[in-house]
């Protein structure tokens, strides 16, 4: 019987981050902070017109207002919630589909494995954004639909890693030993193989989450993410674009900047993690 705590502990491997990693963690933390404390950070409702149209940054509206009169700062802090929720949701869905499939495919082998791998490879070969666009166009707007569209793109990533890990663990002696004492397949999968696969899931996550952020931003840029009044950074970027020519720079600069901070933050963390594991390999 596996208790919850060891699993949680394994999900967060003891990694020593470099300066780059901490900088990244800081950027991500900032975004999370904005998301969580949004109501405390601004008095305005981001979906409503609260001020004059196209006002440049000033004391009342620190980042200015857009055409409709919505406060940009509010749309930024509440927008953090939108993007983080979508990213989190799609990651969870990717894992929920990719990990079990990877385990089963790697463990069972044979025809099932071949077919699943072929399908996953096909999905993987597709440019991520185009696939996401196709799915989002098909499914329609909404947080869940967007999350699913994005999730499908990253399922193969989790699938492959988990399957690879499963394949190598499968051959290890202690699995043979478990079988020798009569453990059935399910038990072996859950109690022996899965716990060892967990750490790699985290690594895959750190390396791919920046991509997920950018994909969400791109989808919302195309209007294929959450529906209109909900604050969404990519959407604001697109909405503010036409006014750029006339010099209304605050409409696009800040939402885009936030996307960058979140994406770069995750990238730095990912780089740091990758370096850490590389260094470990070299030393042994």
């Amino acid at each position: 019987m596996y208790t919850f705590r060891p699993i949680l502990v394994k999900l967060v491997p003891k990694v020593r981050l470099s300066i780059l990693g901490w900088a990244g963690a800081g950027m991500v933390a900032l975004t999370v902070f904005l998301a969580i404390f949004a109501p405390l950070l601004t008095p305005y409702d981001p979906t409503k017109a609260v001020g004059p149209s196209l006002q440049p940054p000033c004391w009342e509206y620190p980042l200015g207002t857009n055409k409709i009169g919505q406060d940009m700062w509010s749309r930024i802090v509440y927008g953090a919630r939108t993007i983080l929720i979508v990213v989190l949701l799609s990651t969870v869905i990717s894992m929920l589909i990719g990990v079990p499939l990877g385990l089963i495919s790697g463990y069972a082998g044979g025809l099932l494995d071949r077919i699943l791998s072929m399908i996953m490879d096909a999905i993987y070969a597709f440019p991520s954004l185009i696939l996401a666009i196709a799915m989002a166009a098909a499914l329609g707007p909404g947080i869940l639909n967007t999350a699913i569209s994005i999730a499908i793109v990253y399922v193969p990533t989790y699938f492959r890693m988990v399957r690879g890990q499963t394949l190598s663990i499968k051959e290890q002696l202690y699995v043979e030993a478990a079988r020798a004492i009569g453990a059935n397949h399910t038990t072996i999968l859950i109690s022996y193989i899965f716990p060892n696969v967990i750490s790699i899931i985290t690594v895959v996550f750190t390396l791919s989450v920046a991509d997920v952020v950018l994909t969400e931003a791109a989808l919302s840029f195309f209007g294929l993410s959450v529906p209109a009044p909900t604050p969404d950074w990519g959407f604001d970027l697109k909405a503010g674009h036409p006014y750029l020519l006339s010099g209304y720079w605050w409409l696009v600069t800040f939402p885009g900047l936030m996307i960058m901070i979140l994406a770069v933050g995750f990238t730095f963390i990912g780089e740091s993690v990758a370096e850490y594991f590389q260094a470990r390999e070299v030393r042994t």
């Binding site: 185009i130 931003a217 209007g223 696009v252 939402p255 996307i259 994406a263």
Partner: protein, 341 residues
Amino acid sequence: MTSLKVFVIARLLLVIPTILLLVSLVFFIMRVMPGDPVIAIVGMKAPPERILELRKALGLVDESGNPIPLPIQYFNYLANLFRGDFGRSLIWGKRPVLVEIMEHLPATIELAMAGFLVSIILGVTLGTIGGWKGGKMSSAVKIYSAITYALFIPWIGMMLQLLFAVWLKVLPVGGRIDPGLEPPMITGLYLLDSILTGRWDSFVSALRHIILPSLTLGLVISGVFSRVARTSVEEIMRQDFVIAARARGIPEHRLVVHILRNAFIPIMTMMGLQLALLMTGAILTETTFSWPGMGTFLFERIEYRDYTTVQGTVVFFAIIISVINLVVDILYAYIDPRIRY
């Protein structure tokens, strides 16, 4: 039969099931739509003849209005593709999707090539310097690679527009060329066509318009190349044959050539893999700079719910990518004699 020929044949054979799989994937996705796509296009109150017409156009029902079962739909879909029929537009009076794609393709190719060029020059140069010098330079390149990879293309494009087009006013904000200056059509690539026909004014205009978009696209993709170039050069420099060559007294300037040639293989591998990134990047760049290529085209059709065109375009992308990957694979087998089967 040389080992290269064997490789080419084997690779060609591999391409067919790959394309088949991708194409089937698209079919599956487009059929996943919840609700009735036809209603989504024309609304609930449309006359029944219109609805029937659309259903026929989407390949859902046959001539007499009877629904076509899914397997047969799939078969029709594949058969059409085989004949080069990528579907017809639901909006612009049944124009074949393929024709519309071909009209918009040259613009995207030109942008993609320009962006690719920029990214290679920028990325490989920086990466090589970083790998060669090591130390602080190497760390700087590492950070550069990380940041550029995470750049959101529309935002970078917009910032560049803000700086150069709005504030400094030295470059145009969008579009491909000043109206009226289009060169006579030979390849569809304005820069090339204007040189070929000696139209200097067209060339300058096209050049001015392509600078910002290609810089945007190039910047973002250069990150990947700079990282690969750096790690590749670093690794090659640690290899025995470099020490052995130095032990023979081979001077540094000759060594650079040899190291680059060896380092180039992973870089080329990356180039092939970046095709996907290039395409998605091109789409985002085009919409930001109103560049009349495939990206803007796709975006437009999505907005208008022209499903058949969207489907046809996505399939087209899938096939093109497979073909280009094939070409790239063959190219590396040519360069690296160890790869051939």
